[in-house]
Symmetry: C2
Subunit: 319 residues, 2 copies
């Protein structure tokens, strides 16, 4: 079932009081530097540190009493894992999370901290979807995948709905893209609320499967790309998200890792906001100058802030 | 002239529209961990990245036309320098800033970026006050020192005024202390608005002159202390701030550098807010457990966010 703007409206009602209405940050310095009006939607300040809580809570809160009792299983490199763990905690639903063994430690620890049962797998050798499906069948759990699910997509779309509701018309909206849940939800919302708003999906250069899929109109994949944007290392768009991206997204662009880290640190220093690499994808594309933004009203989703600070000694050279 | 709460009320009117009304951050995790309700006043999100803009703008905007034309001189290790540079830029006032040659590069560059003329001095060999006074007399500039000035103290007090106005009664308020401008302004405001609110000044352990002065009731000094809290390396409280601290502050405590950095990173990871070491002093004391906070409503001033990220490889071990 393909989600629509009505589903986003419904998700907004569903998550009210549970998810934060996150603030919108602006910077005179960034506006002066770009000649644009840039509005940063601070999903790094969302519960569990990323937009993912929106979709997770929207999905889990619609479980039947029987599904709630039996529990949820999911697979995620990190932020969706934390979101499911926390949403399940809030709703009293048992949860099993399949995470790659090389996921940032901070994300694994946070997931366990929210009371999720974490099962690690080897990203190079095992298939997380197969593990998730097996656990669902063996234990009677309901599988809620990280992006390719109508309640997830609709929930993620509520961030853009809030942004446009607060700041008004936008000419451009830059959205990080992994599996396309946030991107397709954002694009549905932007299209319904501001038909002239062009939505740009942003991927790390090493994980450009979405951009290639967008250009060729055929689903492309990537195998475990090496990028600091750990939230965008997904192998491909999904069966729900890919058609939505083709229908509603104006363009897909990529950002290389050095540019991404430079932008991330720039956001830390200018906005005083901790944004993780994946969370800075939209900002990196908006500030790169490759898509003209001068004179425009520009939205940027800062999608998450769950950064692994132990990486700082390796990353700081790119500041 | 000793500032009063009336002066803080007047400063609040003076800076409205120029300074940000900064947000108040809260964390369910921190509240659960401490058993308290903790309200973080985000002065790291103030213009120029610290509370200092409040006092600087309050002082400079009261200059006579002749004073405005001739300009301002100040001395500062960093955040007051940036604040004077920016407030002067906004008001069209020429400004000369005397900074120590070992001030964080990020603060010097930002000061120059706001169009301040920076004059560097050697912290071990020269007296910044003497340099400031000489420049004032030679060039006809008005000296606005970083803390010992009634308009500065009154301006800094507006942060606590806003905090209590927004969140209501507090039992405790933790405030970073360098020269005592923020601390005395905060204590005047808290005392006037919530007589039962105990204000705790917090210094780095190596720069504990204020705590020693508080206990002995005699002004104590410290010589260029080695601490990561570069904003609190001031030699002593001032002739205005010391009596105010004695009158209105309930206690003075200190925090060692490892604890300070650990708290700073904890704030980055939990609140997703970039706070500089000096800015984390109040939070470090509040979370340390030495002052009991369980069951209380606790205010914490996060005083600034102008962190020098190039220090990260050295600092991250304390996370």
């Amino acid at each position: 079932m393909t989600p629509t703007f009505d589903d986003i409206e419904s998700a907004a009602k569903q998550i009210v009081g549970a998810a934060h209405k996150t603030p919108v940050a602006t910077s005179r310095t960034i506006n002066a530097r770009t000649g644009a009006e840039v509005f940063f939607k601070c999903e790094n300040l969302q519960r569990a540190g990323a937009f993912k809580f929106r979709g997770a809570y929207n999905a889990l809160s619609r479980f039947t009493p029987d599904e709630r009792r039996r529990g949820v299983v999911t697979f995620s490199s990190g932020n969706h894992a934390q979101a499911i763990a926390l949403a399940g905690q809030v709703l009293g639903i048992p949860r099993v999370i399949v995470m790659p063994s090389d996921a940032p430690e901070v994300k694994r620890i946070a997931t366990e901290g929210y009371g999720g049962e974490v099962i690690l797998y080897d990203r190079d050798k095992e298939d997380r979807e197969a593990i998730g499906k097996r656990l669902a069948s063996e234990r009677g759990l309901t599988l809620v995948p990280p992006y390719d699910h109508p309640h997830i997509i609709a929930g993620q779309g509520t961030a853009t709905r809030e942004l446009i509701e607060e700041v008004g018309a936008l000419d451009l909206l830059f959205v990080p893209c992994g599996g396309g849940g946030l991107l397709s939800g954002s694009a549905i919302a932007a299209n319904a609320m501001e038909a002239n708003c062009k939505v740009i999906g942003v991927e790390p250069a090493a994980g450009d499967d979405g951009a290639r899929s967008f250009r060729t109109k055929t689903l492309q994949t990537v195998n475990n790309p090496k990028t600091v944007a750990d939230g965008a290392r997904t192998p491909s768009l999904g069966s729900l998200t890919f058609p939505l991206v083709l229908q509603y997204v104006a363009d897909m662009v990529t950002v290389d890792d050095p540019t991404l880290l430079k932008t991330m640190f720039y956001l830390w220093e200018r906005l005083k906001l901790v944004v993780e690499p994946t969370g800075a994808l939209g900002a990196a594309a908006a500030l790169a100058g490759t898509t003209p933004i001068r004179g425009l009203r520009v939205g940027v989703i800062l999608s998450g802030g769950n950064v692994d600070l132990t990486q700082m000694p390796a990353w700081i050279q790119y500041r």
